[in-house]
Amino acid sequence: MARPAKAGRGFPVWLGLAPFGLVLVVLFAVPVLSLLKLAFGEGGFTLVHFHRMIDVPVYRSVLGTTLGIAGLVTVLAVLASYPLAYVMATVGPRARSLLMLLVLLPFWTSALVRTTAWIILLQSNGVVNALLMGSGLTTTPTAFIYNLSGVLIGMTHVLMPFIVLPLYAAFSNLELSTVQAAESLGAGPITVFRRIILPLTAPGVVAGGMIVFMNAIGFYLTPALMGGPGQTMIAQMIASNINTELNWPFAAALATVLLVATVTMLALFQRFFGLERLIEGGGGKAGEPFTVTSRGRSPGGWAAIVAACLVGAFLIAPIIIVFPMSLGSSPFLAFPPDSYSLTWYENFFGTTKWVAALTRSLQIAGLVVAISVVLGTLAALGVARMRPRWRSTVETIFILPMIVPVIILAVGLYYLLAPTGLVGSIWGVTLGHVVLATPYVFITVRAALKSFDGNLEFAALGLGASWATMFRRVMLPSIAPGIAAGAVFAFITSFDDVIIALFLTNIRSRTLPKLMYEGVAHEIDPTIIAASCLIILVTVLVLGGNLLLTKRKTT
């Protein structure tokens, strides 16, 4: 949307950009840069820490493991996404919404809850092993977790949406006539897939795959809780060098490597998107999208349906399993529970540490929402009124906290804030969450502003309104849904976070996820399952509330 430069009167650009800019400098750039400085030597420049990474076999193998796991997760996510995306593109709108929900639900479920649920499902006396042995398929428990398969399952589960969504878009862009043209020229189903569908959906897969890989190399929780010693990834190595070895410079060097790898992937991704081309199609009128005609599906299509059902079950299983489990009454985790009761909820609300942690989490999330909504909205307004020249650079900087692995931010903030005493209060973790959450508000408000008709602004100003009045009476009501969505994302970001809390809270200031983490890392107490359900419920309530509000707005 082009705006004349003079429209800047009334709301100066700097007022929009400065607050979040300042927060980013103090709470993001400074901590990350001081880590980098630490990595290259506090006294004078040295590469000794980086040499050590290559020379010591343990560290070398951690780097290899990190890349290997990230690569495997990317491949698995692609393989699992193809049938699902194909089915999403070829079924009716209702089934499509259901599948979309299946894909997005893990994404919106706290990492800790998901991981807990997987452990319950997959541990040696867990649900899956009970089913396998009960049906006679196996006689002894299969080790699904605390090894490579556990890490792959947990990570693929949460990272799949990044591939399913662009792949679904690619399938929707595919034209029915393109496929029919290949068939009319003599191509059977396999050739059509290999020579037409695969190359035309590849750009979406590559884009999604890069995002998955970029995310995967920074993973901390899943390998820590679902892997064994052989699956130690770089983020865990950073944490253990800080928590147990107290070797800050080496941890900083590892963080530098992770940061460089992530930023490289990001740069490659942007290059790639510059090359986004193949999806546009061969010109002419846009035809009917790819679908199933009266001839029905090919055997391959039916195989894809079966595969998609299995993938769907994989996505939803851990989330639905926790509800019945939380209502069991026995202290031993069995599925289905022998008898149902509210014992574990009573236990949750009857124990001071759980209630205190829940209250604190809500308190922190509330503060984070309030602060990040103001910062993010101002930043979006500022960027919208900027000259176009620097706009995309500033946009990239403002969303950087979403891209840089959380462990780096957490460690950097810990390094910066430990001497100040903020770590023991709720403010340390609140500030960390603000840095993480504001980009979400920025993105949603920015999108809302893009669809806001600039002429409305000129019309109101032309009728004699001051800029402040115009904002309050014209602009704010129309971007309110964007702000509300941003607030929801900010709330969930804060309420679900473990990693920031792991470093920036102590026993007096710990949040609910941190308390759960401490439990899961040792032994799963059924109260944790009740807590998981409460977290899912709060998330669903917040998401659902927002959905209802926007629905009412549009009807």
């Binding site: 029919q180 191509a187 020579r195 009128k285 005609t293």
Partner: protein, 332 residues
């Protein structure tokens, strides 16, 4: 190009197909001779595209059968039918060059690389695209993409060439030049063509035979002249060109606007009637005069003359026609 007379005869026998409660095809029968250019003409929803897609094998049908060269193709998958198909949006493979697009069908037939190259070169020369062989489809204009689509369909030497509104996306000038090109190609190649369009001028210009469709049925199938001059019923008469229906002794006389004469002298007219002028408009090649005759509105297209130019709205005027020009149509 020596692929002439490769087309095969198509026989469609009482084909029926439903989408829910609507009859998409309602007992369609049509025989198309080998090498014939047959157009399915109709409004949208008339079933013409559905019929084309069932011939191609993209859609199934519930009753009847389709014979190609005497063989029932019903159970045959699309990929085994040896059809050439040109889509409305061309459906070129966006990730392949012109050469690879055209070669695709030959690769499916596992021809030797050398022969593929030769045949691709030959067909690209035929559609005058040799210089564009290495380009991607999006680097071509609409008309060039159209020709690539045609070359890709022709190179496999199809039994039938099916074309689904292939000129729909082009502007008018380009459409006319490609129509000429198509006619030339059809004469050179001699393929059996089934062509779908809603554009009656295009149908008249291109076809050996036109099957006019409405509500899933073929209303009339005939040569372009036969359809225009001897329409079977009122629907055909008004769909193809314009038609006046003059009330006369409780019956109706159907006559084309260009067959009506207007003015004092009506040379050659053995039927003479009276009406009132309701409008006179200059349309380049002559005048279009609108008349009111006993409550019926009639259109006449007449040569320019001072007498016609001087007609005033509301004044009475004489008009007439030759009774041999009146068309004998069924009343429905």
């Amino acid at each position: 190009m020596n692929i002439s007379a490769l087309g095969k005869a198509v026989s469609i026998q009482s084909l029926g197909k439903s989408y829910g409660s609507t009859r998409a095809l309602d007992g369609v029968s049509l025989n198309i001779a080998a090498g014939e250019f047959c157009t399915l003409l109709g409004a949208s929803g008339s079933g013409k595209t559905t019929l084309l897609k069932t011939i191609a094998g993209f859609e199934t049908y519930e009753t009847g059968q389709i014979l190609v060269d005497g063989v029932d193709v019903g159970p045959m998958p699309v990929s085994k039918r040896n059809i050439g198909m040109v889509f409305q949006n061309y459906a070129l493979f966006p990730h392949m060059s012109v050469r690879r697009n055209v070669a695709f069908g030959l690769e499916m037939r596992r021809l030797a690389a050398k022969e593929i190259e030769n045949r691709v070169d030959e067909v690209l020369a035929l559609v005058d695209l040799t210089a564009y062989a290495e380009r991607l489809p999006r680097q071509l204009s609409g008309g060039q993409q159209q020709r690539v689509a045609l070359a890709r369909a022709l190179v496999i030497r199809p039994d039938i060439l099916l074309m689904d509104e292939p000129l729909g996306a082009l502007d008018k000038n380009l459409r006319q030049s490609i129509q000429l090109e198509l006619k030339r190609l059809h004469a050179a190649v001699g393929a059996t063509v089934v062509y779908v369009t809603h554009d009656q001028e295009e149908a008249l210009f291109l076809s050996d035979r036109i099957a006019l469709m409405d509500k899933g049925r073929i209303v009339q199938a005939s040569t372009p002249r036969g359809l225009y001059e001897k329409p079977a019923n009122r629907f055909v008469a008004s769909f193809l060109g314009e038609c006046n229906f003059i009330p006369s002794d409780g019956q109706e006389i159907a006559i084309r606007p260009e067959k009506l004469r207007v003015g004092r002298d009506l040379p050659g007219c053995d039927k003479k009637l009276e009406g009132h002028v309701t409008a006179v408009n200059f349309i380049g090649r002559g005048f279009r005069v609108m008349l009111d005759h006993r409550g019926a509105e009639l259109a006449a297209e007449v040569d320019a003359s001072d007498e016609i130019a001087a007609l005033r709205v509301g004044t009475p005027v004489a008009f007439g026609f030759r009774s041999t020009d009146a068309m004998d149509i069924a009343s429905i």
